[in-house]
């Protein structure tokens, strides 16, 4: 994997982000809804609404607003949240940290369980174990998070067991045990869905690889099945899984609204929903761009990981 490959990928990523920023900015201005009415409510008087519209700068030219916004991004300045009246950057940064922790732990837990299970299922294709694993994964995919989460709250966070807090968040700096206790249930719910997804991906990737010529050659050479499977099979069979895993980080950053809402977890997804519902344009723009950036970086990492697993992919 050469420097040129890396540079090319980074450049593509930056161009994607620039295009994304323009799209986000344009889209947020096309959103129907008057921020002033949303902020002040139906009880507000017409002069209060007019005064707020002027104060928010909603009457300035579109291009000027975009350039101002773009110029602030490298400094992490996303403007001022119109509903919270606080700088959007620090709010997004804090939520980003929470969501990233949740996403990474979920990915590690899900990966650690799903990959061995997927490989095992593929290596014993058609066996009872394979069928059991597949059935369980169907179950995981079929049951939505908004069903799994309340069930887990009732089982594990309500009397008589009440082993874990039902919701909320405790900063890591305050107490590691408290932080861990609050993050367990959201991670379990997210991992439950992700494991099924990753497991099936791993299994199908491995099945394809295990039926390839070079695996057959390795077996004919008399290599032990374990070596064939884990040294030769997994290395190639996982390249798709790695790409899926990277995309799942992006998914976990922005699309776990329901889990964040149920567990009152202060993440980026929940912030995004709040921002859209309240027409808080700077927050919408900032969170959308950060989630977009996570996708870009995750894709970049996936490309690099795939290139490392399969050097042919790094060739121009």
């Amino acid at each position: 994997m050469g420097a040129a490959f890396l540079a090319r990928r980074v450049l593509y990523g930056l161009i994607s982000l620039l295009i994304l920023s323009a799209i986000i900015f344009a889209c947020t201005h096309l959103l129907p809804g008057d921020a002033a009415v949303t902020i002040l409510g139906e009880g507000a008087t017409p002069d209060a609404l007019a005064a707020l519209r002027t104060r928010l700068g909603l009457d300035r030219p579109f291009a000027l607003q975009y350039l101002d916004w773009l110029a602030g991004i490298p400094r992490g300045a996303f403007g001022t949240s119109t509903t919270l009246n606080q700088p959007a950057g620090p709010i997004i940064a804090e939520r980003f940290g929470h969501s990233l922790a949740l996403a990474l732990i979920t990915i590690v837990v899900a990966g650690a369980l799903a990959i061995p299970l997927g490989v095992t299922a593929a290596s014993r294709r058609g066996s009872r174990l394979d069928v059991s694993i597949l059935t369980a994964s169907y179950l995981g995919i079929s049951i939505p998070d908004f069903v799994v989460a309340p069930i887990l709250i009732i089982l594990l966070a309500s009397p008589p067991l009440a082993l874990l807090p039902s919701s909320g968040y405790e900063p890591l700096a305050k107490s590691f045990a408290g932080w861990l206790a609050h993050i367990v249930l959201p991670v379990v719910v997210l991992a439950f869905l992700l494991i099924a997804h990753l497991l099936r991906q791993t299994r199908s990737g491995m099945l394809e690889v295990l039926s390839s010529d070079y695996i057959r050659t390795a077996r004919l050479k008399g290599l032990r099945e374990r070596v064939v499977l884990w040294r030769h099979g997994v290395r190639n069979g996982l390249s798709t899984t790695v790409a899926v895993l990277a995309l799942d980080i992006g998914y976990l950053m922005g699309s776990i609204v329901i889990v964040e809402e149920i567990f009152a977890y202060p993440g980026l997804g929940r912030l995004m929903v709040y921002a859209v519902a309240n027409r808080d344009i700077p927050l919408v723009q900032g969170t959308a761009l950060v989630i977009g950036a996570v996708y870009v970086v995750a894709n970049l990492l996936a490309d690099l990981a795939q290139a490392a697993l399969n050097p042919r992919m790094a060739r121009p």
Partner: protein
């Protein structure tokens, strides 16, 4: 956007008795004002954690619009006046107040020795700065109009404030008790941009931590001017948006109070061991707007026909799950002081309704667009129930569900389509009547003011604002309630009760009729309350 905000109205013994009789779900408790506060036994200390349901964006009292914001600031600030448990008004920071001739001039004398959280002394200048800031058009205070016709405010001396009105306004002391009119120090007014996250108040608790839409952590104010209050060491308000999480947290004793129980969950909460579920008559309502200046509802016979198709108790049951109060198309609920209980609840009369429609030229009925915002969810329930009732006489409402922000900017009060509005209880009868029916003081939401009954309503609203005699006011507001009920441009099927849940070890929780403010300065915990680390 919901107008669910200030519900600062007190309660009378009679009203509480009625609440007890009319309620049907959960363990209905006698509120504290009747039980008699056992302050002699009150225990100092402890942390009270309250679960809240919705947005909590700001601690700026002047700009807040959500109930959770009022619930926070009432514990951090004081007003000049406050509403009493029996529906009256009394001094809060004001030691006394007097009205001049015709209630056009008011003088407030401040308590001596009150200090803000930063140690500075309260003075008349702080009151003047706060009120002027609310009135300044540049502030864009959403509820400025509810403060009344204040022409000027000035400091007479260090402890005396004089407010001159443009016209007599008997409700001024009550209006000054509203959630918007917390007294902020002059320094706080100068730092207005910081008021979202910083507190410049005199309230019973001082702010320790605020994370928007997540939590407010408050600790006892050792300088609080009411001696011996508050009892609690710490008050924590936590936003838990999911009902399952809220209930689990209550069962686990992670939270001590649910400040706003979802109606669907009320019975379940009442069944939890060691939990008290409380409901009191509220004043929040949804109004289906029928524009009186355009077809088909410009014809009073069509509006009347629609009213006659509505079965109020059935609608209230369906919309609130049995924890509401039937209403009769006018916005004054039994929780208000001047509610006229002699007006009977209208009974449905489908034959007369069909006859009226026929006379109005709609013998075969008609279709009509009805736009509904997706928040709060009760609006959609209201629309569906009204649709079902109207179908009985051939009026077919086509419901169009819309995102709340889009609804706010394209439908609400724009005169383009019928819709379902949503209003919280206001501090006075005048505030909600003016808002809905007056073109002078409010928005004339139903475009009714040009009709004969609408003109009469406008005149009565003006009269009600100026009359200070209680008997005369009662008559004016009774006339208004009848007029709005019989001729007005809205269908208002029910009022929503206020629903709370507290652990049994929580004492003197402020379960007052229709107030959601949660003034916790008198609240205390029995010894069996769980200890919590800071």
């Amino acid at each position: 956007m919901s107008g669910e905000t200030d519900r600062s109205v007190g309660v009378t013994r009679r009203r509480f008795t009625r609440d007890l009789v009319t309620s049907g779900a959960g363990a209905l408790l006698l509120p504290n004002v009747l039980r008699g506060t056992a302050h002699g036994q009150a225990k100092l200390g402890g942390q009270l954690t309250v679960a809240l349901y919705k947005d909590l964006r700001t601690l700026n009292p002047i700009m807040g619009i959500f109930g959770n914001e009022w619930r926070s600031t009432v514990n951090l600030y004081n007003n000049l006046t406050r509403l009493t448990a029996t529906g009256g008004v009394e001094g809060d920071l004001a030691e006394s107040y007097t009205a001049g001739a015709n209630s056009a001039t008011w003088t407030f004398v401040l308590r001596d020795g009150v200090r803000f959280h930063d140690g500075s002394a309260l003075g008349a200048g702080d009151v003047v700065a706060t009120i002027e800031k609310i009135l300044d058009p540049k502030t864009a205070a959403p509820y400025k109009a509810e403060l009344g016709p204040i022409a000027s405010v000035r400091a007479v001396d260090r402890r005396t404030v004089r407010i001159d009105l443009a016209s007599p306004y008997a409700d001024l002391p009550k209006a000054l008790a509203s959630s918007m009119a917390r007294i902020v120090s002059e320094r706080g007014v100068a730092d207005f941009g910081k008021l979202d996250t910083t507190v410049y108040g005199t309230g019973p608790f001082v702010l320790k931590e605020f994370v928007a839409n997540e939590r407010v952590v408050m600790e006892r104010n050792p300088r609080y001017f009411r001696s011996g209050r508050p009892y609690l060491d710490r008050l924590v308000l936590r936003v838990l948006p999911d009902t399952t999480s809220q209930i689990a947290a209550l069962e686990n004793r992670e939270v001590d109070v649910i400040g706003e129980v979802e109606s669907d969950a009320f019975k379940r909460v009442g069944g939890i061991k060691g939990v008290k579920a409380v409901q009191v008559t509220g004043g929040t309502f949804n109004n289906v707007v029928l524009y009186a200046d355009r077809p088909p509802f410009d014809d009073p016979r069509v509006r009347k026909a629609l009213r006659l198709a509505m079965d109020r108790p059935q609608m209230s049951e369906a919309i609130t799950g049995g924890v509401g109060t039937p209403a009769d198309d006018q916005p004054i609920s039994p929780a208000y002081e001047y509610f006229d209980k002699t007006i009977p609840l209208r009974k449905p009369d489908l034959a007369q309704a069909r006859q009226l429609l026929k006379e109005a030229g709609h013998g075969s009925g008609f279709e009509h667009r009805l736009v509904v915002s997706n928040s709060p969810a009760s609006r959609e329930k209201t629309a569906v129930v009204v649709q079902a009732m109207a179908e009985q006489i051939g009026i077919r409402f086509n419901i169009e569900l819309m995102d709340n922000a889009r609804y706010g900017s394209t439908i609400w009060n724009k005169g383009v389509a019928s819709y379902v509005g949503n209003y919280g209880t206001r501090p006075t009868e005048d505030a909600i009547l003016s808002k809905l029916y007056s073109a002078v003081y409010g928005i004339d939401e139903g475009r009714w003011v040009k009709t004969e009954p609408g003109k009469k309503a406008e005149q009565l609203i003006g009269q009600g604002r100026q009359v200070s005699d209680r008997g005369e006011r009662r008559k004016v507001y009774a006339d208004l309630q009848r007029l709005c009920r019989d001729e007005g441009p809205f269908i208002i099927p029910n009022f929503f009760n206020s629903l709370y849940a507290t652990q049994s070890y929580v004492n003197d929780w402020p379960t007052r009729a229709i107030t959601t403010e949660m003034r916790a300065e008198n609240c205390w915990l029995s010894p069996e309350a769980p200890g919590r680390k800071a």
